[in-house]
């Protein structure tokens, strides 16, 4: 138990008590195939605490209407809640200004927005984009679009055999043709946490902006985009104990001012005539159409929930669970862990000898243990490690050592059946 302390939002934090935290998540009390649920798939999507579900429900019941431009009372109330949610995201990421936060439908849309609105207009034939082999497809495919459509060159940076980023290789890959470094903050397969501040410093030294995919990083690390000096930081709501359908892009104000709109529609214009159009400033310029209002409110509730803990204590808890799991699976000589980078986050990917990940996941599922099996939307990484798929247990604040024990029992059973 650590003593309560005051975080940047000025609230008193609860020290981290995993049993109490588990009680916040209604789904964790259910059974699957007659066994207690052991949810080890938070890396794909995290479960939601009651306070998030209640807040969305309450907002929809009492303060809901469409946002912006409305004259009536509820439109004002909903706009207030939506804009308050933006300020919550701003504080969560440590951004200097609220208008540097664009709501998107998720991390994927946030990265696509940067690809289309920021980078595409700058790309000339042969310009380069630097990315690592451990990127999620959401931080690969938008750049492939620019390769296909604009003639950009994708310059891949390798990881070492332990899954850590080869920072010298990354530095060497950045040259006068580089227009962007697109890098994960935390790998969804390896758990590797990249030295983002160092990456940004090295890229900026060569005048190149950096986009960080924070889909995992924002959940497990404490983010301060000003300190990192990162230019773009993409997050998604559903991995951070919030709802689906909402995410956000942090972008430096100077970039946003120069970026062309992505989607066209309502909310994002200043004036529309038959033969000309002017656009609203950010963030409205990039939020065409009715946004995910209830989900934005839910995302803010999730961030408030997470900030209600001592985040360092939560991180320490997750690392403890991971370390325990890592030590336990080391007992199994037929199981090979992929990703052992120093300081990595709580994601355990492995390959089991003679067992396909899907067969293994089916057996674990019958024990109530939910893991993910497959390529994890990271096929270049699978290729790098010479595998077609892995099994992945990803840990969240609500996981316990008992969950790891259940995983181990399931692994033993799988070996009994398939080994």
């Amino acid at each position: 138990m650590t003593a309560p302390f005051t975080n940047i939002t000025g609230k008193i934090n609860r020290a981290f008590d995993v049993a109490a935290a588990r009680a916040d998540f209604p789904i964790l009390s259910r059974t699957v195939h007659g066994k207690p649920l052991v949810y080890l798939d938070s890396g794909a999507s995290a479960q939601k605490p009651r306070i998030v579900l209640d807040r969305m429900n309450e907002f929809a019941r009492t303060d809901y209407a469409n946002v912006h431009r409305g004259v009536h009372y509820l439109s004002g109330a909903a706009t207030d809640a939506y804009e308050a949610a933006r300020r919550t995201v701003q504080k969560f990421l440590g951004a200097a200004r609220e208008d540097e936060i664009i709501f998107t439908k998720g991390g994927t849309e946030a990265i696509n927005l940067v690809s289309y609105s920021f980078l595409a207009p700058k790309i000339q034939l042969g310009d380069e984009i630097v990315l690592s082999v451990m990127e999620h497809h959401s931080n690969i495919v938008p750049w492939h679009f620019l390769r296909e459509r604009n003639g950009a060159v994708l310059r891949w940076v390798d990881v070492r055999d332990d899954g850590s980023l080869d920072i010298e290789a990354l530095d060497a890959a950045i040259n006068s043709k580089t227009k962007l470094v697109a890098i994960t903050h935390m790998s969804n397969v390896l758990g590797t946490v990249t030295p983002l501040k160092d990456i940004v410093a090295r890229a900026h030294a060569k005048g190149v902006p950096v986009l960080a995919d924070g889909a995992q990083g924002a959940v497990h690390e404490i983010i301060d985009v000003v300190d990192l000096d990162v230019d773009f930081y993409a997050i998604t709501g559903h991995k951070i104990y919030g709802p689906t359908g909402i995410g956000a892009l942090y972008a430096k104000r100077a970039y946003l001012k120069a970026m062309r709109p992505f989607n066209g529609g309502g909310e994002m214009i200043r004036e529309v005539a038959q033969d000309r159009i002017t656009y609203a400033d950010a963030p409205a310029r990039f939020e065409a159409g009715t946004p995910a209002i209830i989900e934005a409110v839910g995302l803010a509730a999730a961030m408030d929930y997470l900030n209600g803990f001592d985040r360092n204590a939560v991180m320490a808890h997750e690392h403890d669970i991971y370390d325990y799991a890592r030590a336990r699976v080391a007992e199994l000589n037929w199981l090979k862990v992929i990703g052992d980078a120093p300081g990595k986050g709580a994601i355990l990917s492995f390959e089991a000898e003679g067992m396909h990940a899907h067969d293994l996941a089916t057996i674990l599922d019958r024990e109530g243990v939910a893991v993910r099996a497959g390529h994890h939307c990271a096929q270049p990484l699978m290729e790098r490690f010479g595998v077609t798929s892995t099994s992945r247990a990803s840990f969240a604040l609500y996981n316990t050592r008992a969950d790891v024990d259940a995983l181990m029992a399931g692994l033993h059973k799988a070996w009994e059946i398939l080994g």
Binding site: H356, H358, T362, R366, G374, M382, T388, S389, I417
Partner: protein, 147 residues
């Protein structure tokens, strides 16, 4: 032990996945197709020779994937060899009904018995596509895969 798991991963399935029959690529196929499930990465490549009477004179497969997908491909190749296209279609329809837990009356008693090891799949709806991949690949080879 969970009985349905034992049924799914019974010895015959594991044997087919570890020692697949008709494994390889025919040198002079009349039809071929590649089946791929992008969700899980399972791959099956089917080559076959259709003779003048529209009979599957020979059929081979190669592939990579879970035990279910590979065992299913192996059993399929074993069962399709020598059948007419009409019989093959009936077998495929019956197989798909069987793994979905539907009435598989289109299967002959012999075929039904042979495929019984796959009946347990109906308890695992998330895995049915693993078992049907090879069959859909065969079907694609016939329809669009003239070599």
């Amino acid at each position: 032990m969970d009985e349905s798991l034992r049924e799914l991963y019974q010895e015959m399935i594991l044997d087919h996945s570890r020692h697949p029959r008709h494994f390889g690529t025919l040198e002079h196929p009349t039809h071929k197709a590649e089946g791929y499930n992008p969700l899980c990465g399972d791959k099956v490549h089917v080559t076959l020779v259709l003779d003048a009477d529209s009979r599957v004179a020979d059929i081979n497969f190669t592939g990579k994937g879970c035990a279910i997908s590979q065992a299913s491909a192996s059993m399929m190749a074993e069962m399709l060899a020598g059948r007419s296209l009409e019989e093959a279609q009936k077998l495929m329809d019956g197989f798909i009904h069987l793994v979905k837990g539907e009435d598989a009356t289109d299967l002959s008693p012999d075929d039904r018995e042979h495929l019984d090891v796959m009946a347990g799949l109906s308890e695992f709806p998330m895995r049915i596509k693993c078992a049907t991949l090879a069959w859909h690949t065969f079907s694609n080879a016939i329809e669009e895969g003239a070599a």
